[in-house]
């Protein structure tokens, strides 16, 4: 009896260490994951799909797919400005955020319709319009994260190791000097 109890305890603690407690959910297929894995790691960009697009390609695409809402040269229409102060060019810290947002959310009402090459080209065009990359530039999965955004140091990384459940508001701890 004692032995039986002991082995029961042993088995249940092993199960806990493994983390599989209920065995629910099926194994995800690689193809399923790949299709949905669209958030881009700003450190190494490992989720970026293969592809390429130039500023010149992007300019043509912009005229047909974006200009109606965002205006000529990214300004002067009712959708948010894409060039200048308080825009993606001046504010966003990583080129991966630009790529990822255009890929998932633009053009509005036709979200998800752009090919990877088109997203590289549109990103290149908008970064060029913001004076960040030259007109001759071409972006690919290999060089997108080499682009230095002007505001790359504008976001102070969260002091994440300081956050504990039940602590005071992080604001109060980091203070206004942030």
């Amino acid at each position: 009896m004692k032995y039986y109890l002991f082995s029961l305890i042993l088995i249940s603690s092993l199960v806990q260490a493994q983390g599989v407690t209920y065995n629910l959910g099926r194994t995800a297929l690689d193809s399923e994951i790949q299709q949905w894995d669209i958030a881009i790691n700003p450190g190494d960009g490992k989720e970026l799909p293969q592809g390429r697009g130039s500023v010149v390609d992007g300019e043509k695409l912009y005229a047909t797919k974006c200009l109606a809402c965002h205006g000529v040269d990214g300004v002067g229409a009712s959708a948010p400005r894409l060039v200048g102060r308080n825009t993606m060019g001046s504010n966003w810290p990583f080129a991966s955020s630009v790529w990822s947002y255009i890929n998932r959310a633009m053009p509005l009402y036709l979200e998800g319709s752009l090919s990877s090459d088109e997203v590289y080209a549109l990103t290149a065009f908008l970064l060029h319009k913001n004076g960040i990359i030259p007109e001759s530039a071409e972006l690919t999965q290999a060089n997108l994260l080499d682009v230095e955004m002007p505001n790359k140091n504008g976001y102070v990384p969260p002091p994440i190791d300081q956050w504990e459940p039940g602590m005071q508001r992080l604001f109060k701890i980091i203070g206004p000097e942030y």
Binding site: N86, R104, R169
Partner: protein, 418 residues
């Protein structure tokens, strides 16, 4: 099958019976009420004398493109701490709720895990569940000089009982890597909103919810599945959840940059922390509030309102009826759950003279809700510029909302004066 048939027969029978009863009442000359519709009998409606409604959260850009502007909770009519599902606020980043069939919905968990898993809604319903009462509050919810009513200024907060699975349960099922410091998760709406969350929080109390106040979550609030991050700005609580990825760093998606994380009173290009987490301690008097009227002149009135904090439970609420000179402790009406709306009341004898009434929240960590001037001093900004729509980066704002009372008993927003 038999049960279903029986039930159907009962319903038909029941409706026929009801028809007779209602018919006879009508014949007796009673007022026609909306209770005579079969739909209302099957899924209860409210009295035609109750007209409280959400209003649109006006957003010019969203309006220009025919997008969803978001809906504000009528706090001025609220009772107790639970927001009825029909009146829960909804801020949807412009998207109309996707029309998701729960039988087709799936949730993928992958990244730094031993096993990448896909859960169906049925799988999730088989896992251990919890039900907890929590508020949600948009980071942009705040006193606003130009907003005459509490619904307009503070209507981006609501409170519900949420039912679902703990995120920690799912992370354990997948076997998460102990070195992973973050999770990111994403919705199924057209823009696929994504958010990054510290792993410590994910393992602490975050829920993957499918129930809201005893029924499936409403479409605007994330049907069939959403994240619920207690105490954190509502932006963290992604709706229409379809993917969780265990990762080694924050990912900086669209709603994590731009004005969403900018510190109070700053332009979005200025230096700012990556993320803000908890909502500050906050309260607001819901009645009497802006555009209401103290009907019968001098005498006793019940001041009632809501308090909440991302820092835990509300410890106490103080009320001032003389523009902030004297503060008295209010009565707490019901339960004081952690990270939940808490109802306070204070009976007040109005002497008929003009004054300002206001409340402040003190949470279980002794964090005190600041006045407008304290809030501005802390952030080094001009208090007169702080609370306007035009000023970007005025979010994360928890200062005290005063209501002015005129001699004729009319109530107005006196934020700019106090």
């Amino acid at each position: 099958m038999k049960n279903l048939l029986d039930r159907r027969r009962f319903l038909t029978h029941g409706t026929a019976m009801m028809g007779i009863t209602l018919g006879s009442i009508k014949a007796a000359g009673a007022q026609t009420s909306n209770e005579s519709s079969n739909d209302v009998l099957a899924y209860g409606g409210r009295s035609r004398f109750v007209t409280s409604q959400r209003i649109a959260d006006i957003d010019e850009t969203h309006r220009a493109f025919g997008r969803h502007e978001g809906m504000l909770t009528p706090l001025q009519d609220s009772m107790g701490i639970i927001t009825p599902n029909s009146l829960h606020f909804a801020t949807m980043q412009g998207y109309y709720p996707p029309d998701i069939n729960p039988d087709d919905h799936k949730l993928i968990i992958h990244g730094m895990v031993d096993r990448s898993l896909v859960f169906t809604m049925d799988d999730l319903l088989r896992l251990p569940s919890v039900s907890r009462i929590h508020y949600l509050e948009c980071q942009a919810n705040r006193p606003e000089v130009m907003e005459p009513t509490v619904q307009g200024s503070h209507g981006k907060t609501s409170c519900a009982e949420w039912t679902g699975v703990l995120m920690s349960t799912l992370l354990q099922e997948a076997g998460y890597d102990a070195n992973a410091k973050w999770v990111i998760y994403e919705g199924a709406e057209p823009g696929k909103m994504v958010k990054s969350l510290p792993m410590k929080k994910a393992l602490d109390d975050v829920m993957i919810a499918y129930g809201q106040n005893g029924e499936p979550i409403r479409p605007q609030n994330g049907y069939p599945l959403r994240v619920l991050v207690p105490g954190f700005e509502a932006l963290y609580s992604i709706k229409w959840l379809r993917r969780i990825k265990v990762v080694d760093r924050p990912y900086m998606g669209y709603q994590e940059i731009r004005q969403y994380t900018v510190r109070p009173g700053r332009q979005s290009d200025e230096r700012t922390p990556f993320y803000n987490y908890e909502n500050g301690p906050k309260s607001v008097i819901t009645s009497p509030s802006g555009e209401q009227q103290l009907m019968s002149g001098p005498g006793y009135y019940r001041i009632t309102g809501l308090a909440w904090s991302g820092g835990g439970a509300v410890k106490k609420v103080e009320v001032s009826t003389d523009a902030g000179k004297i503060w008295r402790q209010a009565d707490i009406e019901g339960p004081q759950h952690k990270m939940a709306h808490t109802r306070f009341n204070s009976i007040w004898k109005w002497n008929g003279e003009p004054t300002h009434i206001m409340a402040r929240c003190i949470d279980e960590q002794n964090q005190v809700q600041p006045s407008r001037h304290q809030f501005a001093r802390y952030w080094g900004v001009d208090p007169d510029k702080l609370p306007t729509r035009e000023q970007r980066g005025s979010g994360h704002h928890n200062s005290i909302q005063p209501w002015g009372i005129r001699e004729n008993g009319s109530v107005y927003n006196s934020y700019a004066i106090i």
